[in-house]
């Protein structure tokens, strides 16, 4: 297991390098002169030249890249053009909020999704099954921005319990978590249902019943553990995409998160922040995927990861 984790971590090195190349290229993929863009439209040629010098744009590309890489390793992601503060600091300030939001949303969607999926599968083709699946379809079809706005309009405004904006206290956190977790819950419910239905007809389930195992134990111990294997993949992917995809929810609820930071920075052409943000999110995504792989190994003994 340990060798697996180490090996898996080593495997991420090329991925991370790839990501740094991409984020580095970002600067040069912007149409026009990066120095011109960063210095602003009204900048004089001297200012632009100064900016070019500051950014090291006069050096050959490989040198620029290695300088960039060296900075990353030292934790230096450059400075924000807008505020002049360190990018790493700006990100660190907001990363916690986003990770929290994504994490709690995932927990919520796993919790609700699993329960709904199992119930649906156990009662297949009954009214309950149809009902749960229709609700899931709704959950899946509701855009997060709409759900968020509806929650603000009809829940936050009418109740003192929930706040409509910000992040930190539970009253502020509940609605964004629901907003972001709903679609995931629906996906996981549908995934769990189909996976359970596949498993419940397997021979080993019959074996368990023939042993005299109680039906609940058959479902939760013998079937669910097998059914979880494909679900784990979805959960992992989802957590990853929630990290980056929380932008809308963060905007709707005015949460100071990394998604919103990146969007705002794109708008104001604050490219060091965009670069840093994407880099950090990518690394997080890779880490989450390693965790998923480990969970996979734990659940599915047939996978020999070594």
């Amino acid at each position: 297991m340990l060798t697996f984790i180490v090996r898996r971590l080593l495997q991420t090195i090329p991925v991370i390098i790839g990501v740094t190349i991409l984020t580095f290229s970002l600067m040069h993929l912007i149409p026009g002169d990066p120095a011109q863009i960063m210095a602003g439209e009204s900048a004089s040629p001297e200012q632009i030249e100064l900016m070019r010098e500051r950014l090291g744009l006069n050096d050959p590309l490989p040198i620029q890249y290695f300088d960039y890489l060296k900075g990353i390793i030292q934790g230096d992601l450059g400075n924000s053009i807008r505020s002049g503060r360190e990018v790493s600091g700006e990100i660190a300030l907001r990363l916690g909020n986003t990770v929290e939001l994504a994490f709690y949303s995932t927990v919520l969607s796993v919790f609700i999704g699993l329960i709904a999926g199992v119930i649906s599968a156990v009662r297949r083709y009954t009214f309950i099954d149809t009902f749960v699946m229709i609700i899931a379809l709704f959950g899946l079809s509701m855009p997060a921005f709409w759900l968020g706005l509806m929650l603000i309009r009809y829940v936050a405004i009418n109740s003192d319990l929930f706040a409509a904006s910000g992040w930190g206290t539970w009253s502020q956190m509940v609605l964004p978590i629901i907003t972001l977790g709903t679609a995931g819950a629906a996906i996981i419910a549908r995934m769990t249902r189909s996976s359970m239905l596949e498993v419940i007809d397997q021979d080993y389930i019959r074996t368990a019943r023939a042993k005299g195992v109680k039906e609940q134990v058959v479902v939760y111990r013998h079937a669910l553990k097998n059914a979880l294997i494909p679900v784990v993949t979805v959960v992992g992917l989802q957590f990853g995409s929630l990290l980056g995809g929380a932008v809308i929810t963060e905007s709707v609820f005015a949460i100071n998160g990394i998604g919103r930071l990146i969007v705002d920075s794109i708008r104001s052409r604050d490219f060091p922040i965009v670069q840093g943000g994407i880099l950090v999110l990518s690394v997080l995504f890779v880490v989450v995927n390693i965790i998923v792989d480990i969970a996979y190994r734990y659940l599915n003994k047939r996978i020999d990861l070594n």
């Binding site: 397997q202 021979d203 080993y204 019959r206 074996t207 368990a208 019943r209 023939a210 042993k211 005299g212 195992v213 109680k214 039906e215 013998h222 553990k225 097998n226 659940l299 599915n300 003994k301 047939r302």
Partner: protein, 348 residues
């Protein structure tokens, strides 16, 4: 060993009377098991033989009430030690499953749960039925693996099913089934998925364990070779009904039902030289259960079928030797050729 003459007089551990199990679709009902009767004498092995779709597996699942939707046990009685299992509550049935009546299945590759170790799966029986602690159950599981002849059981007990071969897994299934010392073991084609040498080993093991533990066995198979080797009695099933029930010796020496004769004829024989002759087959194929013949189910394929066979279903009648047969030829109402020699059709 008891003599062959007092065949069916021995007290049965299990008796099935008029068992009916059907599967329901939107449009119609498929009678998979349609009025099956047989008895399993104590300490003996009953073979249930038949083609695919004859209802033999469904019969065995019905005994333990493991039929899942859309199937349903519709009627009849399953008398186990004097009590009708069909009257029991689900909780009472759980006490019986894996404890008094155990089952092993056809596919050892898929019948074990892939995410639990062999030991955990055997232990479960001990934990459920004998309320053992985890540790105790694990120790007993090692013993069970030893009993079924698995080498280095202490190591194997910690392994997952995918780490074992098919034969090993079937041994594990047997160990699991025998954990609580059941009185009746139902083996649903236990060797079908295994290669021939492993087959022989598994059958040998089952016989040996039967002698040691004194349980009764229902051996479901489509392999008459397996029947000859392991069974004391045989019930031949065709389209959800028992067509012949006899002591093994009688069945192989004097098969009575034309279907049984057909089955025996379709076996390749090694004892006589048949170089010039082709293997005989039963003509036609099993009709769809949704399209059940009106009279005798076998009539459309039977070389002797006469008017009465096509019109009315014969009953399962007991003959003087205690064997049972469902065929018009052996009744007074027979309207075909008076001197039919069913056995004459045999190639031997």
């Amino acid at each position: 060993m008891t003599k062959a003459t007092d065949t069916l007089i021995e007290e049965p551990i299990l008796e099935i009377r008029n068992l009916q199990t059907s599967f329901f679709t939107d449009k119609f009902e498929v009678k998979a098991v349609d009025g099956v009767n047989f008895a399993v004498p104590k300490g003996k092995t009953l073979g249930i033989v038949g083609e695919s779709g004859s209802g033999k597996s469904i019969t065995s699942l019905s005994i333990l009430r493991l039929i899942q939707n859309p199937g349903k046990v519709k009627g009849g009685e399953v008398i186990f030690k004097g009590e009708n299992l069909l009257d029991k509550t689900e909780a009472q049935m759980r006490q019986i499953r894996g404890n008094e009546i155990s089952m092993i299945f056809q596919e050892p590759m898929t019948s074990l749960n892939p995410v639990y170790t062999v030991g955990q799966q055997i232990s479960e029986s001990f934990q459920i039925h004998q309320k053992m602690s985890k540790k105790e159950a694990m120790l007993r599981s090692v013993e069970m693996l030893k009993l079924v002849g698995i080498p280095s059981p202490e190591r194997r007990v910690k392994q997952y099913p995918h780490e074992l071969s098919g034969g090993m897994r079937q041994r594990v299934m047997i160990a699991m089934a025998l954990a609580c010392d059941p009185e009746l073991l139902i083996a649903d084609e236990p060797t079908t998925a295994l290669d021939v040498t492993i087959q022989a080993q598994i059958l040998e093991l089952m016989k040996d364990l039967q002698n040691r533990l004194g349980m009764s066995i229902i051996m479901i198979t489509h392999d008459l070779g397996v029947v000859a080797e392991t069974c004391d009695y045989v019930a031949v099933m065709y389209m959800g009904k028992v067509v012949e029930y006899a002591a093994v010796k009688d069945l192989f020496k004097h098969p009575k039902h034309p279907y049984t004769v057909g089955l025996l004829n379709s076996l390749p024989r090694h004892d006589i030289d048949l170089e010039d002759e082709e293997l005989q087959v039963i003509k036609g194929s099993v009709p769809s259960p949704a399209d059940m013949p009106k009279g005798c189910r076998f009539a459309p394929r039977c070389p002797f079928a006469s008017e009465i066979c096509r019109e009315r279903l014969p009953d399962l009648e007991e003959s003087e030797d205690g064997n049972q047969i469902r065929c018009w030829i052996y009744t007074d109402e027979w309207d075909g050729e008076p001197e039919v020699n069913v056995n004459g059709e045999r190639t031997s």
